[in-house]
Symmetry: C2
Subunit: 292 residues, 2 copies
């Protein structure tokens, strides 16, 4: 599989990014003492790349910086990250990958050291044609946290995009066990949160709504782009406290994410629900056409 | 710093361990696509090594296997892990490290592959003389989960020792911010759980108690050894649902762990409390003297 990897370079002491270099992704580049590998102690973003252009790059960089603040990591030097990400995107296109994804990662570095580790990895995208057209079956799974936990207990890092994603992987196994494709987290006090790696979007008439982002979830970069587009199309949009009842009665529902884009929800906990194929196609055409 | 590293070798397909080899720990051995580094998707154990002997090795191996089951990782081939761990322990002693620690890690391997990654890293121990003698200041921090979450929501992996430990690191930063040395997790419904990397132990008269292990916490290997020793000394022992009130009124409290052993708690949320220096010394002498 075609892959392109850039390693970020950091100044000892300050943690500032000083540059990057392209390296062979098949070779090992991390020591077993990197805190990414021993503690999941780092942050990441994943963006889509179309013909060498990274979609929503500024929103992803901004969220990376926000996650870094929440984990008290050195602030990423965004101009150099932007350069590295664009260099990987261009190299991916040059290697013949028209539809790709880029993951960029910042870790606390080697245990006991003061120097972060960072990399940018470009890969071809999986083909999500089927999910976008036919929809996905989801299950609602308890995340265990109340909806106010980001306020009461910031050390739980709710709303930061960390490398500690073992639970996000476990919920996908649980979903598969129940015959579903994906999971939607629910707070312990009954509010809809987000998918394992996606945001929830509901249509209620001519209104699009998504869960409020102050309830310990990520601010979705793709969801934000859908809202911007939808407002131009005459939809109203809103951030709300939503419940499973709202999902059951919504006219349509999607999980939206940077690479899969809008996947319509065709069943919740085994109960079939209608999908809005026409609006799904329009949303995904708009997302495909993003030029930044 | 002296370090000894063994990489485990796995059979493609089955995920069974086939052997190990000693390698240079300063070199990179992990790719950036290892799920340890991208998702914190793996498990670990840390044991103390004294003069080339690994303490409580069988208990650690058993807990590794239990974590593997909870994460649906391939079952570790324990005889080969035992050999690798003992080889690292012996090499550590041969390098002049009389007091060391060994961390062993099993990950889901490279994303998209079917082969786990595993390693065993031996390092010298930090010096915990001061913590054992003078005690530690702790703060109580909400873990966000109810005490019954391991039963209701097993996909949250409560009670598995995973690599997704960003929160365990964040609580230590929060503790430091509050002038403390360590943190003790409390469930969202008010029960004492465990430290970031330790178990809680209380003395009430001639009784030693620790939180029940069915409330989403790790079964402490060191706590179990303390209980076995204490029963021979005439103490009674018990696993109970404990509250902050129980901690406040206990005659003595400790956080116990594999490498630091018993650290007496000298303050909770800024409130000083007595330490039992004599019993602490006896417990730590017993733990130092463990021969398996």
């Amino acid at each position: 599989m075609t892959a392109v990897l850039a390693l970020l370079e950091f100044a000892p002491g300050t943690g500032a990014t000083t540059g990057f270099r392209l390296v062979d992704p098949a070779q090992p580049h991390l020591t077993v003492t990197d805190l990414a590998a021993t503690r999941g102690d780092g942050i990441f973003e994943t963006a889509r790349v179309v013909d060498g252009r990274v979609q929503a790059l500024e929103a992803h960089l901004e969220r990376l910086a926000q996650s870094a603040r929440m984990l008290e990591l050195p602030a990423p030097t965004l101009p150099l990250w932007r350069d590295a990400i664009n260099a990987v995107a261009v190299a991916l296109a040059a290697a013949g990958v028209a539809d790709g994804s880029i993951k960029f990662v910042l870790t606390r570095g080697i245990e006991g050291g003061q120097v972060p580790t960072g990399w940018v990895l470009g890969l071809p995208s999986p083909d999500f044609t089927r999910e976008r057209a036919e929809g996905i079956r989801i299950v609602l799974l308890d995340r265990g946290y109340r909806h106010d936990v980001a306020h009461t207990s910031p050390w739980l890092l709710a709303g930061a995009k960390t490398l500690s994603y073992a639970v996000n992987r476990a919920v996908l196994r649980e979903a598969a066990r129940r015959g579903a494709d994906d999971a939607l987290f629910v707070s312990s006090d009954g509010y809809l949160l987000e998918g394992a790696v996606s945001s929830l979007l509901l249509r209620v008439g001519s209104r699009l709504v998504t869960p409020r982002v102050d309830i310990g979830i990520l601010a979705g970069t793709t969801q934000a782009d859908v809202f911007n587009w939808a407002e131009l199309q005459g939809f109203t949009t809103g951030y709300e406290l939503l419940t499973p009842g709202d999902l059951a009665t919504a006219d349509a529902a999607w999980l939206v994410s940077s690479v899969r884009h809008a996947a319509p929800v065709r069943a919740v906990d085994g109960v079939e629900r209608p999908i809005d194929a026409e609006l799904t196609a329009r949303i995904n055409a708009a997302l495909d056409g993003r030029i930044d």
